[in-house]
Subunit: 222 residues, 8 copies
Amino acid sequence: MSNKDFIDIDIAKVDIQRSERNGYPEVIYGEGKTADQIIEISKVLLSKDKTVLATRVSEEKISEIYKAFPDAVYDKEARCMSLNKKDTKKPDSYIAIVTAGTSDIPVAKEAAFCADVFGNNVECIYDVGVAGIHRLFACLDTIRNAKVIIVIAGMEGALASVVCGLVDKPVIAVPTSVGYGTSLNGITALLSMLNSCASGLSVVNIDNGFGAAYNASMINHL
Amino acid sequence: MSNKDFIDIDIAKVDIQRSERNGYPEVIYGEGKTADQIIEISKVLLSKDKTVLATRVSEEKISEIYKAFPDAVYDKEARCMSLNKKDTKKPDSYIAIVTAGTSDIPVAKEAAFCADVFGNNVECIYDVGVAGIHRLFACLDTIRNAKVIIVIAGMEGALASVVCGLVDKPVIAVPTSVGYGTSLNGITALLSMLNSCASGLSVVNIDNGFGAAYNASMINHL
Amino acid sequence: MSNKDFIDIDIAKVDIQRSERNGYPEVIYGEGKTADQIIEISKVLLSKDKTVLATRVSEEKISEIYKAFPDAVYDKEARCMSLNKKDTKKPDSYIAIVTAGTSDIPVAKEAAFCADVFGNNVECIYDVGVAGIHRLFACLDTIRNAKVIIVIAGMEGALASVVCGLVDKPVIAVPTSVGYGTSLNGITALLSMLNSCASGLSVVNIDNGFGAAYNASMINHL
Amino acid sequence: MSNKDFIDIDIAKVDIQRSERNGYPEVIYGEGKTADQIIEISKVLLSKDKTVLATRVSEEKISEIYKAFPDAVYDKEARCMSLNKKDTKKPDSYIAIVTAGTSDIPVAKEAAFCADVFGNNVECIYDVGVAGIHRLFACLDTIRNAKVIIVIAGMEGALASVVCGLVDKPVIAVPTSVGYGTSLNGITALLSMLNSCASGLSVVNIDNGFGAAYNASMINHL
Amino acid sequence: MSNKDFIDIDIAKVDIQRSERNGYPEVIYGEGKTADQIIEISKVLLSKDKTVLATRVSEEKISEIYKAFPDAVYDKEARCMSLNKKDTKKPDSYIAIVTAGTSDIPVAKEAAFCADVFGNNVECIYDVGVAGIHRLFACLDTIRNAKVIIVIAGMEGALASVVCGLVDKPVIAVPTSVGYGTSLNGITALLSMLNSCASGLSVVNIDNGFGAAYNASMINHL
Amino acid sequence: MSNKDFIDIDIAKVDIQRSERNGYPEVIYGEGKTADQIIEISKVLLSKDKTVLATRVSEEKISEIYKAFPDAVYDKEARCMSLNKKDTKKPDSYIAIVTAGTSDIPVAKEAAFCADVFGNNVECIYDVGVAGIHRLFACLDTIRNAKVIIVIAGMEGALASVVCGLVDKPVIAVPTSVGYGTSLNGITALLSMLNSCASGLSVVNIDNGFGAAYNASMINHL
Amino acid sequence: MSNKDFIDIDIAKVDIQRSERNGYPEVIYGEGKTADQIIEISKVLLSKDKTVLATRVSEEKISEIYKAFPDAVYDKEARCMSLNKKDTKKPDSYIAIVTAGTSDIPVAKEAAFCADVFGNNVECIYDVGVAGIHRLFACLDTIRNAKVIIVIAGMEGALASVVCGLVDKPVIAVPTSVGYGTSLNGITALLSMLNSCASGLSVVNIDNGFGAAYNASMINHL
Amino acid sequence: MSNKDFIDIDIAKVDIQRSERNGYPEVIYGEGKTADQIIEISKVLLSKDKTVLATRVSEEKISEIYKAFPDAVYDKEARCMSLNKKDTKKPDSYIAIVTAGTSDIPVAKEAAFCADVFGNNVECIYDVGVAGIHRLFACLDTIRNAKVIIVIAGMEGALASVVCGLVDKPVIAVPTSVGYGTSLNGITALLSMLNSCASGLSVVNIDNGFGAAYNASMINHL
């Protein structure tokens, strides 16, 4: 690899070597960027025939982006956008994405959108939190047959430990900012997941559906 | 009980077994849900003739919900909504709900609304914080004659300890986010209550009037 | 009640009215007190024929206390001591004390010791944490038949939510300092329990087996 | 005042102007200093006929210090030492020092020792915490007749608010590190006191009996 | 005093005994209250010929309040309102109010407004923070001649320590939320003030100009 | 699976179903347990011909354990013990374990010991932290050829991000408690890793070499 | 220097001695000030022929300020304004300003604007974070040839350590609030930078481009 | 530079390129290392004729190290050791090291020891904290004539701001863990320094005398 493998457009040094180095092209983190910056970076990536994936793209920004890229694919709940997605063959195995509650669904949608762009089959199971644990048991076969499992939960995040204690596959836990008061915007769920009494759990940042999908996709492609 | 006792409507797996298992039907936490989601879940519960209780329902959402359920009962201060409330016989005993200040009243209203839906008599006593402790002593008989007591306080939350030291009934303390600066949005009141020098106090999440009512109702129905 | 109902021994104003006011005599918190101070206060309580209960009494202190009170009853794991325990009739119902792991047993022992002194029957169930959740289901009848349930757990504290979602009795959760790193000496378990997605949970201070027993006893005696 | 008003002994620049500037001579904070350093600084102060006051002096250190100053006055509970104390006339008014519990007494002793060295009459009232609030009411006259009141409490620190709501004198609150778990070594009591619903409270650092005495003495000498 | 000395208007139990007990009538904390609630409580206080003082009254609320009380005195920067202020004789001594910067002035205005209502002369000195410490020395005589000093500072709050090291009067420090990033909305200034190396400092809650004025007024009236 | 698949020895309910459910037998967390408890639980596992793995076993405890199990395999740096390890065929692929510094080696040893017991080949690379980043590049081939990578770092934990940006395999980051002051016993490294700008990183608890090995082994066995 | 070297305009005591004492005139921190206050203070500085520099000036405020000073120089991204900038000779050496990502550019712009006003040459290098570390190596010569280096990064802030390990010049690290969840608004990047394993790093407040420029300018002018 | 420029001794990859890259050889952080590890790494550095500097070396470890290197230079207060120090010419300018109190001296000693090994003249000024600010003014010329200033302070750390407001040289602030209660082991001083109202301050980790010396030395050698 060469130190020259990027394109400098002043506001960014677009890394065009990343797909070779990391398996996927550079993903655009949309939150701190203007619509114009997202468009500029996308153009560079497209000029090299890379798939574009941008996360945390608000509805305000996408309306600007549509003007530049009318064929952009956007999911409002996931807040994700893609361009130039390739029809590569997906592995037969799938990633299970499991949420504790209805309010955790947007994070699951982000994970599912990204996992799809990264070339994975996905099975989503919503609202099986431990307040009604029989709902989880009803879905356990689908979870157990996945190659890797993403568990998404806010509040006390107990679902991650419970799932992890029932499977023999790697579990990636995503704490969400769902809750109030001492949920501390997701810190409580995060701490809970890091201290799981069940073994084999690893954790990503709060509301980081993208990161979980990236990690899970790497595992699913092994 | 069976793992099949829920109704899957994609965005939620509505737990229709909960009244058998936990004594009350599933309660809808309104904060992270859209008005449409609340309506959908309510319809499922009503289809099984369950009482619907939704908390943290904003005025924006209720105006949508009224279109679907014109007979919804809504309390603006409590931010709670109910449907299909049953006229079950209440226990003779009552729950005392005590607040330290005027600003804590909305949390008390949530607790009172929920306790009523759960089938309890309630006595509310507002603004008896320790800055003028003689106000508390004037109301002590009503508090002592309750079967269980909910104390709601923000700032330093001292009222919970003081009440607990004066009664022989279980006291459930609810810290509120009333205050500023080092009140830390209710963390200070919570910590204070967890460290009460008076014995017999238990604590719920900040501003969690619903949870306190749920716990108190269980005790009141023993 | 009178403002004179205490005995002043300089280092303490022993509250001899507490059993009338709160249902139980004053309990001695042993941690910040010398053996001599515990002995002095005990003598005052005994002079009024009160039952003495002291918590957090180390083995060093008890060896001193035995010299003054050879018939003191002491449990090394519970770190609790009692004197002059009365043979009052206990309610038929019982308190279930449930722990997530083996390391949580000392806190359970404190809770059980205190609950016994307060005049309660107790059923203890150890090591049913969610890493092997079938162990919990095997014990569920014993838990469900209790009048009130104490759940004791460290690490992520998920057991409290799971138990609470399966019963129709009040659940008192006790976070423990079991764990390391981000368990934060029990803060994580505490936060987890305060944010339980299951309704009806209330929480006491970290490792506070005594407080949970006190609260549970009040409920059990209703 | 002159920039030259100190004596430089390398390890310290002893401030010999402080009694003129601040009303009292420099006080030695003993915790981070060796016995030798305390002795050296004391000698400088004595060479200018200043009263020496050292706080947080452990028993190990005082045994060294006694060799240099056999007439040092030391209080083991207060962990304070004084030398060359002057018989100045004290104001007729007094400082009330009130503790919530027995375990808070060492901090009260530090406050009382310092207040005495600063030339004040003191009334100490121990163990009147809100778990048995009638004990406080029995002592209220002594508290109300003070010119300034120091309230010392750990755990939830509620006593400070309660006292403050009952008097028309300035109240200085001292949080103590008494407690466990979420008492956070005194942080909880501190936060509680800073958020008192009663007006007129000011707060010093955790376990800072000295600072409270210093502040109270200034007020008592007005 | 009697437990009956309050007027119950449901949303509040207005404490009409407070001026006798604490030296000043009940002050209305405006932040958590509606304009209507402030008006209702004010009417009760006025019916007993009490002076009304309300803090943290926004401009939106005052425009409502003016309709009920056209002669209300309101200071926009201080966000304080008073009614029925009495012309009592003020002590000859004064309170010095000192700020570190221009941005701290609103808190100083709150303190000054309240101190005036409580019957005190006040001297305000703005913008003498330690970045240009010669400005402080130029004003030192005014500060030293006060009976009690309020120091108001955000950011690192160093001014409080510096002033305290230069005077022989009690210093009340008010941390402000001025700053960004690690100023943590005033927590840093608060911690700094609690750990002052200069003796005799006491501290109130962040931005609590009212509390500082209340405490200072008590001292000034001794 | 059956709810009966555990053996109850009072202090523990040993989960003998775990290898079927999770791929590995129950692992003993040694920190909160006495040597006797570890021995008792080991005996139960051995009676079912399970491999025993115990982590966080101090040297004091192992000397007791050796009496019961003279053939116990113990690694002093790793603080891990195993019994009855099976000679199962390992996958050809390997786990790379990379540390930032020399002080992180004990956590790496725990990870390596556990990974070996779980049936994995391991390559360890120590002391390639970013202060001398050329050391990392010299070892990059070994890291890139692994199937999964564990990065162990204290202080600022930057190595995890740097490695993750250079590979196309899943990276599990283990923060360590190496550092002082604001390293906050590993919290800083943990936060750093959770916020990696490189994608595909997941994180376990501080100093949790075992958990990282467990997760990596699951991936390596896919 | 004299204690009289300031101009008192009530809302501020403008320090006109600062350029002599600190090397640069007083800089106006715009965030807590109104447009009017900024204008007033600017007029005083201009009356003494000082250069005016104001930071954190929003677009709303600048439109007011333009009315008073039509020739004000304003950079929208940097949120900085200057007046009466002098054409002093700059040192030949330059300050390198390096950012990890595109979202960190506004802080870099603040640093660059201020460094320029302070009389420095600046080289800006954007978006060389460790997710694509070859971009950094491509720019290393420019960084190494600087006299002092400012590294600006959010998220995990790893770039600061990496740069610091590659150069022999002082590195000033600026954490930014870029990130989400456990980035804690920049606290994580700050902690990371304070614990750098590379030596020679010093740190300023979150998003404090101004402070870094000030410090760097002092070094560049040595 | 080459990726091969280190010597691999298994427990460490000793960086022998660091003096060329960073200006000084690799420094050994002694805290997490055994005496044997320190000796091994020292031998490698000596084999390349590098100066050895090890920090945070306890007295227990040095007694072992003396056996291997009888001519090791060790300062007990500084806890630092050096070997093979070179007599290079020092710059004429000097570094001023200033402490707030006597208890901060050990950190100053570490800074002075390291600065000397790095080839710098140093002037130390102890105990000039703001409680007696005239002591600082008496030493101001020595401070102002330095090329770079290190300010070391615990408690509220106000000295750093005051010094910084009085000089036109870069100031590096070192918070110390001196204090108790809310000093939070140095966090308070750190936060205070990061929020200095005086410009031009940069900060290093708590008690990090070494880091401050390293940074100051780089500046002093410019």
